[in-house]
C-alpha cells in the first residue's frame, strides 16, 4: 500500500505543527519518522491514521484521496504510545475485539475468531496469557498485546506511535526484532514514530527526519548518517563536535587544511561538524600524521577519559572548547594517553555548514560559549589561520 503525503499542513491554535509536508512511502516499506518532541511526527502519524484532519494538503493511499475512504478501506492499524489496551477486558478479549465488532455479515463465527486470536497470540508469544488482564502484564507484554490486537483486523499499513518508548533497553531490542519479522512476514507497510535515533537507524528501511513541522531529510539510515543535509540532521543523529572555519572561494579553511564543502556555501563564516569517531588524536611527542588526515594547529589537553565497554571516550580541551573523541580501547592504549596529556588533533571527515544555519538549527553557539564571543575582525581571523 503506497502512501503519498502532499503538502500537508496542520495548525494548532497559533502554532504550525506541520508545514507543507511531502513524503512518499513505498509499498511494504518500513519507514521511521524521527525527530525531537514537538516536531510534529505524532501529528503526522495520526493524520495518516485518520484520527485527525489536516488543515491543508492531502494524503493519498494507493492514489486515492484518503478523505474519501472509509476506515475499512484504509486498512490501517494503529498502535498507541501507551497501548490503549482495554483494561477491563482480558488479553483474549482485547485481541478479539476488532473481529467481534465487525458488522454481522463480515463477522466470523466465535470459533473462527477464537482460533485467529490464538494464532495471533502465538505470533507474539503470549499464548499463556490469554486470560490475564492488562494490569497484570509487563510493559513489553502489553506492547505485544497491542500489536496482536491491531494485526487481528488484517491491516495493510501499520502505524506505531513511539512503540518502544516506555520499555527497558533489553525488552526494546527483543521487540524490535519481532516487529521487523512480523512486518516482513505479513508484507505490511509500516510507519513508526520515534525520538530515539538508534532505534530508527536500526530498524527502518528509510528514515524521515522531521523538525518543527518540516521534513529535513529522507533517506536510508546510511544516507542520513553519512551525508546529513543540514546541521540539524547531523546534530540530531549523534554527538557533534564543531570547529569554526571560513569559506573563501568555495573552499573551507580550517587551520592549514582545506575542506571541500559537500554543498555550495557562500563565502563567510562557517562551521565544520565532525563525529566523535572522526577525530583522531596523537601524542605530541609522537608525530603520527598520515597524508589522508588533516592536522589542526596547536595542541589539545586531555581532560577526561572514560572507557565504556570496548569503546573509549575522551574529552579534550582545544582552543577553549571541549571536544568529544571516540575510539577503541586498543587505540587508547596504543596512544598511551592519560588525563593531562597533551595531544594533537586530526580530522578524518568533516561536513561544512554555513555558520548562521548551524547556529539556528543546533546549539553550536552555546557549546562555543566556553570561549567568550568576541567580535573578531576578518583580519584577525586570517591571522589565526596561519
Amino acid at each position: 500500500m503506497e502512501i503519498a503525503v502532499k503538502n500537508l499542513t496542520k495548525r494548532f491554535e497559533h502554532l504550525t505543527v506541520l508545514d507543507r509536508v511531502n513524503l512518499q512511502i513505498q509499498d511494504k516499506e518500513f519507514i521511521g519518522l524521527l525527530g525531537p518532541s514537538g516536531s510534529g511526527k505524532t501529528t503526522l502519524l495520526r493524520i495518516l491514521a485518520g484520527l485527525e484532519l489536516a488543515d491543508d494538503g492531502a494524503v493519498e493511499i494507493d492514489g486515492r484521496d484518503s478523505s474519501t475512504l472509509s476506515l475499512d478501506e484504509r486498512r490501517v492499524g494503529f498502535v498507541f504510545q501507551h497501548y490503549a489496551l482495554f483494561n477491563h477486558m482480558t488479553v483474549f478479549q482485547n485481541v478479539a475485539f476488532g473481529l467481534q465488532v465487525k458488522p454481522r455479515q463480515a463477522r466470523k463465527s466465535s470459533a473462527a475468531i477464537a482460533q485467529r486470536v490464538r494464532e495471533l497470540l502465538g505470533l507474539v508469544q503470549l499464548q499463556a496469557f490469554e486470560d490475564r488482564f492488562p494490569t497484570q502484564l509487563s510493559g513489553g507484554q502489553r506492547q505485544r498485546v497491542a500489536l496482536a490486537r491491531t494485526l487481528a483486523i488484517e491491516p495493510k499499513v501499520l502505524l506505531l506511535d513511539e512503540p518502544f518508548g516506555a520499555l527497558d533497553a533489553k525488552v526494546r531490542v527483543e521487540l524490535r526484532r519481532s516487529l521487523r519479522e512480523i512486518h516482513d512476514t505479513a508484507g505490511l507497510t509500516t510507519v513508526f514514530v520515534t525520538h530515539d535515533q538508534d532505534e530508527a537507524l536500526d530498524l527502518a528501511d528509510r528514515v524521515a527526519i522531521i523538525n518543527r513541522g518540516i521534513i529535513e531529510q529522507v533517506g536510508t539510515p546510511v544516507e542520513v548518517y553519512d551525508a546529513p543535509k543540514s546541521p540539524f540532521v547531523f546534530d540530531f543523529l549523534g554527538h557533534t563536535n564543531s570547529f569554526d572555519c571560513v569559506v573563501r572561494g568555495g573552499k573551507a579553511y580550517l587551520g592549514e587544511n582545506q575542506l571541500v564543502p559537500d554543498e555550495v556555501i557562500r563565502d563567510g563564516p562557517a562551521v565544520a561538524f565532525v563525529r566523535s569517531h572522526d577525530v583522531l588524536l596523537a601524542r605530541v611527542d609522537k608525530a603520527q600524521t598520515t597524508t589522508s588526515t588533516r592536522r589542526l594547529p596547536g595542541t589539545a589537553l586531555v581532560r577526561f577519559i572514560s572507557a565504556l565497554g570496548q569503546r573509549a571516550v575522551a574529552e579534550i580541551l582545544y582552543e577553549r572548547r571541549l571536544i568529544e573523541v571516540e575510539m577503541t580501547r586498543e587505540t587508547l592504549q596504543e596512544l598511551g594517553l592519560q588525563v593531562g596529556s597533551k595531544c594533537t588533533i586530526s580530522l578524518r571527515h568533516a561536513r561544512v555548514y554555513a555558520r548562521r544555519e548551524a547556529e539556528e538549527q543546533t546549539r553550536v553557539a552555546e557549546r562555543a560559549a566556553v570561549r567568550p564571543r568576541k567580535r573578531r575582525r576578518f583580519r584577525d581571523r586570517l591571522s589565526t589561520l596561519r
Binding site: K10, L51, E52, L53, D55, D56, A58
Partner: protein, 279 residues
C-alpha cells in the same frame, strides 16, 4: 480537508452533536430559561421597587442574619473541620472508620430531618437545649440556633476538601525538616500548613455558599421571627405565600447573584488548589 467544524476541531469519536444537543437543550429547559425568568421578573419590578425591597429593614435583617451566621459557621467549620480531617488522617483510634463514614451524614440526610432533629435537641426541654438553658444560654428561636444548624450543614465540606490533600502530603518533607532540627510545632506551621491553606479556604467557601441558601435545616430551630431570626430563603417563601411575586423575585435575584459570585470564587480557589498540588 476541513479540520474545524464550528468552534471545535474534528476528532474521530462520534456523538458530539447528539451529546451536546441533549446537554444544551436539557440545561436550557431546566436551568437557563427558568433562571432567566427569575431575573426578568425581578427586572419587571423597576428600580424603585427593587431598591425599596432590598433596603427594607426586614430584608436587611434577613441578609445580615443569613450572611453573618453563614460566615461564622464557615469559620467554625474551618477550625473544627480541620481538626477532624487531621485526626481522621493522621491518628488511629477506636471508631475512626465510623467517624469517617459518618462525616457525610449532613449531606445524605434530608434537610427537614436535620431541621426537626436539631430543633428538638436544642429546644428548652431537649437534651442539649435543657442543659444549656441551665447555663443561661438559649439556642432555639435565636440566631444561635441558626448558627448551630448551619454548622451542621457545612461540616462535611472542609473535612472532605482537606482530607485528600492531607493524605497526599509527602511525609518525607516532614522527615527532612526534623532532620534539619526543626521542632514539631515549627514543622506544622511552616511545612504542613501551607499546602493545606488553599484546601481549608476552598472548603470553608463551599460551606459558606451552602449555608447562605440553606432552608430546611434552619427553619425549625430558628423560630423565624422577622428582623431577628428570619433567614433570607424563608423570607422569599413568605413573600411567595403572600403572592408578592415581585418582591420575592427581587430578593431571590439578589441571592442568585451572590451565589454566582461565590461560584466563581470557588472555581478560582479550586484552580489554585490544583496548582499547589502540582497538578
Amino acid at each position: 480537508m476541513i479540520a474545524s467544524v464550528g468552534h471545535r476541531s474534528w476528532t474521530v469519536l462520534p456523538g458530539f452533536g447528539l451529546a451536546l444537543g441533549i446537554t444544551l437543550t436539557y440545561l436550557g429547559l431546566i436551568v437557563l430559561i427558568p433562571l432567566s425568568g427569575l431575573l426578568l421578573k425581578a427586572g419587571d419590578a423597576g428600580p424603585a421597587k427593587i431598591w425599596a425591597e432590598l433596603s427594607s429593614p426586614r430584608t436587611l435583617a434577613a441578609f445580615r442574619l443569613s450572611l453573618g451566621m453563614a460566615f461564622l459557621a464557615a469559620v467554625c467549620n474551618a477550625l473544627f473541620g480541620f481538626v477532624l480531617a487531621w485526626v481522621l488522617v493522621r491518628y488511629r483510634f477506636a471508631g475512626r472508620r465510623l467517624m469517617d463514614a459518618m462525616i457525610d451524614l449532613p449531606f445524605a440526610l434530608p434537610t427537614a430531618v436535620a431541621g426537626i432533629s436539631l430543633a428538638q435537641l436544642y429546644s428548652t426541654n431537649g437534651w442539649l437545649g435543657g442543659a444549656l438553658a441551665q447555663a443561661g444560654i438559649t439556642v432555639a428561636f435565636t440566631p444561635l440556633g441558626v448558627l448551630i444548624a448551619l454548622i451542621f450543614v457545612g461540616l462535611p465540606f472542609v473535612v472532605r476538601t482537606v482530607q485528600p490533600v492531607l493524605e497526599e502530603l509527602d511525609r518525607e518533607i516532614e522527615e527532612a525538616a526534623v532532620l534539619l532540627g526543626a521542632a514539631r510545632w515549627d514543622i506544622i506551621r511552616r511545612v504542613v500548613m501551607p499546602p493545606l491553606r488553599p484546601a481549608v479556604m476552598t472548603g470553608a467557601t463551599l460551606a459558606f455558599a451552602r449555608a447562605i441558601g440553606e432552608y430546611g435545616s434552619v427553619i425549625f430551630i430558628a423560630g423565624n421571627m422577622p428582623g431577628y431570626s428570619e433567614i433570607v430563603p424563608l423570607l422569599i417563601v413568605i413573600k411567595l405565600e403572600q403572592y408578592d411575586y415581585l418582591g420575592a423575585a427581587v430578593i431571590a435575584s439578589g441571592m442568585l447573584i451572590a451565589s454566582f459570585v461565590l461560584l466563581l470564587a470557588i472555581n478560582l480557589l479550586q484552580a489554585r488548589m490544583r496548582r499547589w498540588q502540582g497538578g
